[in-house]
Symmetry: C2
Subunit: 181 residues, 2 copies
Amino acid sequence: MKALVLLAPGCEEMEAVILMDVLRRGGIEVVGAGLESGVLTASRGVKIEPDLPLDALETAKDFDLLVLPGGLPGTEALLADVRVRDLVLYYAATPGRLLGAICAAPLVLDAHGLLAGKTFTSFPGLRDRIESKGWSADPVVEDGELITSQGPGTAMAFALRLVRRLAGEDAEESVAEGLLL
Amino acid sequence: MKALVLLAPGCEEMEAVILMDVLRRGGIEVVGAGLESGVLTASRGVKIEPDLPLDALETAKDFDLLVLPGGLPGTEALLADVRVRDLVLYYAATPGRLLGAICAAPLVLDAHGLLAGKTFTSFPGLRDRIESKGWSADPVVEDGELITSQGPGTAMAFALRLVRRLAGEDAEESVAEGLLL
């Protein structure tokens, strides 16, 4: 199983790193792809070097999961990027692929019409910026292949849910135990 | 208030990033100093660029808090580093300074005799590698200026406790609310 984590300048570093680390603990092959090349500065100043720039991926369309960390500056960068639009539309339209977003990143899915008729969540303070009506107060929300979550404090639960979906409940339980959750 | 986070190759990236991010959210000036210069690869492959190498700090002794993220490969690097030994001894001996360690990193404090007679915690699976007797099963343990914690799943609670100690309960509550905790 393979997961693609999109890393934008200004992303929420806890969300980005928790996703990459927890998915790898679950035995999932993770690529953290930067919107730009080189080291990025995340929302609270932590500097992260993506595994490679998105443009250097031979294809970004052969992953089992596409997942977007949040952070408001990072989400604005995701919103402005036509490659991200194409990818979320592709993953949402392709059977068997999972699409995940946490915190501010569900705004990207909303902007491209992917939350219409769905149940989802986001950072609660951003709820008013989302046009679609299916907002749920649960920390992690699954609606078919769409999985969303609320913020840093729910990021481990979100990552574990993605491990469950990609690698099964035993893998999820084993990773949770190692995290002391 | 100022905090120094020591970043070793092979550190647990969630612990390192949660500490830096949450402390900064609490208004604390954080320096993430690398044992080596340049980008480091953390325990699950996330690449982090420290704010600067430890050797480039004019002084590492004027912080209010010295805190060590865990991760077992990273902790071995901390154990082998004479600069780290000198710093933990200095912070432990200097009134008013806080010393924190999480996960495997309490092994470093134990190796330098700083857990003797103290109540502390660590990653539970490493308890047998610690000679001192005061191990506690609590996720975050405070004994005077020594604050310890267990692992990735307790890292946010640990970082929030450090915010409380450095910036007060109002700051801690405000940060916790922003994290959705």
